[in-house]
């Protein structure tokens, strides 16, 4: 990738949307902006992966007239990474309300990502119309009982993808359900407490703003089974902005959307796409750098936006 100065980089990021690169080195997770990961980060035994979220293909609104174009720009950035990410996590809401043809468009664009594999979890936009039929037909294979949740190990780190949008309850909160929680407890039971854990799901597994449904009602039971681990990182989407929280050894992060921003919790009458000019929306997509150190160290977070 050509060297560009910081200002130029921020400007590019502002209109390109964003993805987050996660770097694991010796069990320590840290995150960088997708354009900022360089060969210098590729220490022996480390690897990188990328989180993409809330691509909302089919969205057309004031803040973004072409969500496919901004996703393509993010993919182009990912493809500029050296070394290439080991894999990509998509944390849901691929489509905007299961708009016809949207899954195909996402698949078409993500086919061009230079990585070994892309792991998915669904967002409520991907499943509400048909109870997840189309999503699971496409992405259920290889997951637990073809139901969408899954775990895998990569270079000593244990990754768990959870589905919390198929059992929406009365207040619209995410929900994991007893069967998935029981599976999770069994899945992590044999692991040593020193195993770094990464959990990814669409709706936050912490109470960001329950009034807007920005929480998972039965997440506590999942977290109980993760508390004994020295390093757990929880990656979510859904709220289209970066928020973070540290609770003991568990570090929570929410990712930005590649399509449009949503208002800060409680700052508007309702959630949903912010109705702002594209130029302003792209500034809000912004830039975040997070460094995670297991144990008792706090997160080091740097957020940069234009303006």
């Amino acid at each position: 990738m050509d060297r560009i100065d910081r200002r130029g980089f921020l400007e590019c990021m502002a209109w390109a949307g964003t993805g987050v690169v996660w770097i694991a080195a010796g069990g320590v997770l840290s995150s960088r902006l997708i354009t900022d990961a360089s060969a210098a980060d590729a220490a022996a035994g480390s690897f990188t992966f990328v989180q993409i979220s809330d691509t909302h293909i089919g969205f057309k609104g004031e803040a973004n007239k072409d969500a496919a174009a901004t996703l393509q720009q993010v993919v182009d950035r990912v493809n500029g990474l050296r070394p290439a990410p080991a894999f990509v996590l998509h944390t849901g809401d691929q489509t905007h309300g299961q708009k016809a043809g949207a899954f195909d468009t996402v698949a078409e664009i993500l086919k061009t990502v230079k990585t070994e594999r892309i792991f998915y979890v669904p967002g409520e936009h991907d499943v509400f119309l048909d109870g997840g039929k189309e999503y699971l037909a496409r992405y259920g294979k290889g997951t637990v009982d073809d139901r969408g949740w899954q775990s895998f190990d990569y270079k000593g780190t244990h990754f768990v993808g959870l589905v919390n949008v198929l059992k929406y309850k009365g207040e619209g909160m995410g929900s994991l359900g007893d069967e998935q929680l029981e599976w999770l407890e069994k899945d992590v039971a044999p692991l040593s407490s020193s195993t770094p854990i990464v959990v990814f799901s669409h709706v936050p597994l912490w109470a960001v703003y329950p009034q807007w449904g920005w929480t998972t009602e039965d997440a506590e039971r999942a977290l109980v089974s993760l508390r004994r681990f020295g390093s757990t990182t929880v990656l979510n989407g859904h709220i289209h902005q970066v928020l973070r929280k540290v609770e003991g050894n568990i570090s929570f992060h929410t990712a930005m959307s590649t399509a449009f921003p949503q208002p800060a919790p409680g700052s508007a009458p309702a959630p949903g796409p912010m109705k702002i000019p594209e130029e302003q929306a792209r500034r809000m997509i912004g830039v975040t750098e997070v460094a995670y150190v297991p144990g008792k160290h706090p997160l080091a977070v740097v957020d940069s936006t234009l303006g």
């Binding site: 905007h96 509400f128 929406y168």
Partner: protein, 114 residues
């Protein structure tokens, strides 16, 4: 005097006729503009609406976020509506129909058909 009486009777018939015509026009106007429920900022407006049996109701989503009009009993269900998409449903049976948005279940509405 007789002429005056006839004239008055004629005038009264005219008033009655005008009144009937006005009622008919009113009924036609009502039939031509069936009730519409707007969806804005994650709310159905009005959230409670009463209509006569046989009424066709239209929902319009003005949000950029998709919403649905989904009956709690499965009586009717829209697709995902977005950017001024509409959902039209005719209600031929009296009753109280509770509905919600399948994507945001805390959005709730009630339609009373009498």
């Amino acid at each position: 005097m007789k002429d005056d009486t006839r004239a008055l009777a004629s005038y009264r018939r005219g008033v009655v006729a005008v009144g009937v015509v006005t009622l008919l026009i009113g009924a036609q106007a009502l039939a031509a503009t069936p009730p519409t429920i707007g969806i804005k900022e994650f709310k159905y407006g009005p959230s409670i609406l009463t209509v006569p049996v046989g009424t066709t109701v239209t929902w319009v989503n003005h949000d950029e976020e998709p919403h649905t009009v989904t009956s709690g009993t499965g009586a009717f269900s829209s697709a995902g509506l977005v950017n001024d998409d509409t959902f039209v449903q005719t209600f031929t049976k009296p009753g109280t129909y509770q509905y919600f948005c399948a994507i945001h279940p805390y959005m709730k509405g009630t339609l009373v058909v009498k």
